[in-house]
Amino acid sequence: MRKFLIALGLLLAFALPGQAQETGITAPQAEAAQAQITGLAAVLAEYSKEIAKPSRRTIGPVIAAIAASGEGASRFLQAYADKRVGQRESDGAFFIIEKKGGDYALSDPATGAPAGTAPKSDIKEIKPNSGVRAEIGAALVRFLLSDPDPKKRRDALTAIERDGEASHLEPLRASIPDETDPAIKAEKVRLERLLTIRFGKDAPERVAAIESFGSDLGLDFRATLNPLVATTRTAFAGAPEGNVADALKPGRDISKDEAYAMLVAAKIAPARISASEMQQALAAHVEGGQVGGLPLAAMADPAKREEAYATLAAAGIVPQRLTDAEADKLVTDHQYADIYAEPDPEVTTAADAALTRVGRTVAAMQTVDLGLDALSLASIYFLAAIGLAITFGVMGVINMAHGEFITMGAYTGYVVQLFVPDYTASILIALPLAFAITFGAGVAMERLVIRWLYKRPLETLLATFGISIALQQLFKNIFGTQARPLTSPPWLDGAWTLNDVVSISYIRIAIFVLALIFLALYLWVMRRTRLGLEVRAVTQNPSMAASMGINPDRINMLAFGFGSGIAGIAGVAIGLFAKVTSEMGQDYIVQSFMTVVVGGVGSIFGTLAGAGLIGVLQKGIEWLNPSNTLAAQTYMILFIIIFIQFRPRGIIALKGRAAGD
């Protein structure tokens, strides 16, 4: 009798889904009551008739009792919903069954322990209908949502998030007050509001849920709103029906052809005979060099084709074709509108407003993201160009092989990684080694080639180009044409994510930091060291510097080596995120020269400004036309060419004697 009362209480709880509190109170009571007497096995025995022949009307209390029965309950319910429960004909006991050849493997519903096998004839499979399965699912959700294991609760939330249904809303609400984990609770509250937007009982409740998000950036919020404001285009004979988003006027909002196609889709108008169908029809009725009374040669004229077709149609040989005027009349006689899939206008208005609000925030965040992208691109260009800022900017030597020095640095990193398997250690070794190798290469090149051509920049350009193609081919011969990997240390993997819109990978942050370090290093060397002083003296007036006891040959050599060495380090950094091929330097050389020229030759801050300008510009143009990075580069170069017209000496132009010529 007592059990019956409890079951009745549970039934009431299910029958009044709105009263979440009540369910919340009843469930633990029921649990306590059941725990005293029985486990799952007893409940199954108690309700064996209802379980064996489930119907939507009677199953409610049964599920409640099972759910409250303790160990094995969720396993049993899951199996029940999946039609994996069977009843043994001989004693009416329930088992979770699994097909095994011709037999069933049985397992005990309470403990999950195997309980032998049984021939097919002994077991009656229980197949609850879809209504019952929905009830079970809801109970299961409630069950999982208040599972003592936080991981299971989280899994249940994820499952609902992925595939929410109206029936989930009640159990979810019921589980919120008892949630102990604050993080899961917050997730539950958020999910509850999202589900309310979709399945809330009336418009004010749903609108309130939408408003409560404000301009939340979450993708889940936008994913919930988007289906609400999805529209379909339809043609109507009279006034548009349903939740109208937008009335469309042919010729203004949509073309007349589109309008006609909508009429055809709405089965209001017949499909028109297309030009190619007409052509085929005409071609099929050529008789004695004539079609519809006109010579075949005249068929090259579209107007004559219409005429011939009309003749044929009049004779009843081909189906009638709607004339343009008739089609036009059909189009103007009907109305067209975008209709929301969501029937309630209050909800769609609120959703639209919320999406606009979110869109504004997203746009602001995208600008921030774009700014970060531009910054990281600028630091890459700066890194590639800083070596040039010394060799070209300070010494005035055009080094077309600068790109190959970058490649050389990247290959150094690759070779080091072949011998040192630890990525962190290998990068730490590769950086100074790349500097040393490219420093040596730079010094050798300066001694052998460039010093003979100091007054001849054009010849320097061509000679260093010769070295560039020789080096490039040499790399190809040594390392092959395919890309070589240069793997970054694991702590540089991943990205720093601010929200769903703004994120930047750690490797780009590292490059930004590296660029700053190099800026500081450059400033320190050029302004605070003896070498820097002598470099500046030699570039301003070599003979005067020489008479002061400075050896210009040595200084030129060291400065050129320094610039080349920095290119090598830049190569390691660039190789971490770009492919290391023999041609990678080529990708940066023109942009690097641009950076230096745009910034202003001879000024490191000019180079910085140039890199910033080019980075921002390229990302900005890419944003205007995101599918096309080639176009971005094209327009950027055009911009630079025009920019040079107005500031031939770059953004930061040196004045006075320092400007040289």
Partner: protein, 407 residues
């Protein structure tokens, strides 16, 4: 003119003689008009080399004579090729469309659509872009061969020279222009088939002759263009105009102070050479059969400067020698016909090492033999360099070095 044109330019006669002998020789050894000792593909290579010699003359005019190291002339060469390529491709596709259609006549719109689908199907389009409007019109496209690169050079040159961009900066700027143009053409949206380029250009619409004959005809056309280009260039550099541009090369400021419009002269030379380059390109690509934006990459223009430098800049025959020598030797080496050198531990395969050799040889020429191959001619003729104690002819960046000048 006190002495005649030929007397002032003895090289013209020699050049025309050698060119004529070469052309006739190739003709009578070809498959079409002779025993076939020279294969058709070889005839094409030689014809293309003649076109490269023509653009080398243009480069020599602009760099060797005027001192502007342009790294953009291959862009004009490519543009010329594209302009003629549009007509060739359009007409050929039109022939294909018409021949594959049945007896039922097509409307002009249908023909256009079919051509568009044929040409642009490969880049996922079907409409003929607006720039193809005149593609079916040969005289218009021939005009465009001259007009489009000419106008581009005119605008670019006007912008660059008027703001007095000189020396290395101008070189970088022209290189940027080339890069921008090739990147632009790499896009499918540019309406010139993106990185697929234009292909099938070796078939001349309306001409039923086979490739054996066509290749020889193109060789003749290239030879005629080269001969005319040489004469025109020689004429330009031999008169007063030539003296002025050489003056601009060596000491621009002094020429300006003498009252000459330096910018005007530079602009004229730049635009004229762009047109010559475009004509060379228009003859080159029908022989090559295919053109794509990769041909116009900045590196091609630098190679052009390398040819002229190896041949010896500032003399027309030097440019021709350089272009012919490097491209023929290059195709010899990269063709795999040079025997490998086994070193025991490593075998030098010239296909792989030719580029290294070329680069280093070029560095050596720049450092040690500024006259390049022309130095041999000077040696035979007994012409020496002036003694200027290492000083160049003028203060400008493009001025002749002591070793480059003739006494």
């Amino acid at each position: 003119m006190r002495s005649g044109f030929l007397a002032k330019n003895p090289s013209v006669l020699w050049f025309l003689l050698i060119l004529a002998v070469f052309t006739l020789g190739v003709t009578f050894l070809s498959h079409a008009y002779g025993p076939g000792m020279i294969s058709t593909s070889m005839v094409k290579t030689l014809g293309k080399t003649l076109c490269l010699c023509l653009i080398a003359i243009a480069m020599d005019l602009v760099w060797g004579y005027t001192g502007i190291l342009s790294l953009g002339h291959f862009a004009f060469f490519g543009l010329g090729g594209y302009m003629i390529g549009m007509w060739l491709m359009y007409e050929r596709t039109r022939d294909i469309v018409l021949s594959s259609a049945g007896e039922f006549p097509m409307t002009p719109q249908e023909i256009n659509d079919a051509i568009g689908t044929q040409i642009f199907g490969v880049v996922g389009g079907s409409d003929l872009p607006a720039i193809w409007h005149f593609a079916g019109n040969l005289p218009m496209q021939l005009l465009f061969v001259v007009l489009v690169p000419g106008l581009l050079a005119l605008i670019f040159g006007w912008l660059a020279f008027r703001s007095r961009v000189t020396g290395v900066y101008l070189s970088i700027l022209t290189q940027a222009m080339t890069l921008a143009l090739s990147l632009y053409l790499f896009q499918n949206e540019s309406g010139l088939r993106g990185n697929n380029g234009l292909s099938g250009l070796q078939n001349i619409p309306g001409v039923s002759a086979n490739q054996d004959h066509l290749s020889v005809w193109f060789l003749w056309a290239s030879a005629v263009a080269l001969g005319l280009g040489y004469i025109a260039a020689a004429f330009i550099v031999s008169g007063k105009f030539g003296s002025v541009i050489r003056g601009i090369r060596d000491d621009e400021a002094r020429v300006r102070f003498l009252g000459y419009s330096v910018e005007g002269y530079k602009l004229f030379v730049f635009t004229l050479t762009a047109i010559i380059a475009a004509i060379a390109g228009a003859l080159y690509y029908p022989q090559a059969g295919i053109i794509n934006p990769g041909e116009m990459a900045p590196i091609a223009s630098i190679y052009l400067a390398v040819w002229v430098a190896i041949g010896g800049r500032g003399r027309l025959y030097g440019a021709v020698m350089g272009a012919a020598f490097v491209s023929i030797v290059s195709s010899w080496f990269t063709g795999g016909r040079v025997p490998d050198i086994p070193l025991g531990f490593y075998t030098i395969q010239w296909v792989d090492w030719w580029q290294v050799l070329l680069g280093l040889a070029f560095v050596l020429v720049t450092l040690l033999a500024p006259k390049g191959l022309s130095g041999i001619v000077d040696l035979l003729e007994g012409i020496r360099s002036p003694k200027r104690h290492g000083a160049p002819l003028g203060p400008d960046k493009g001025a002749f070095r002591e070793g480059e000048a003739q006494e």
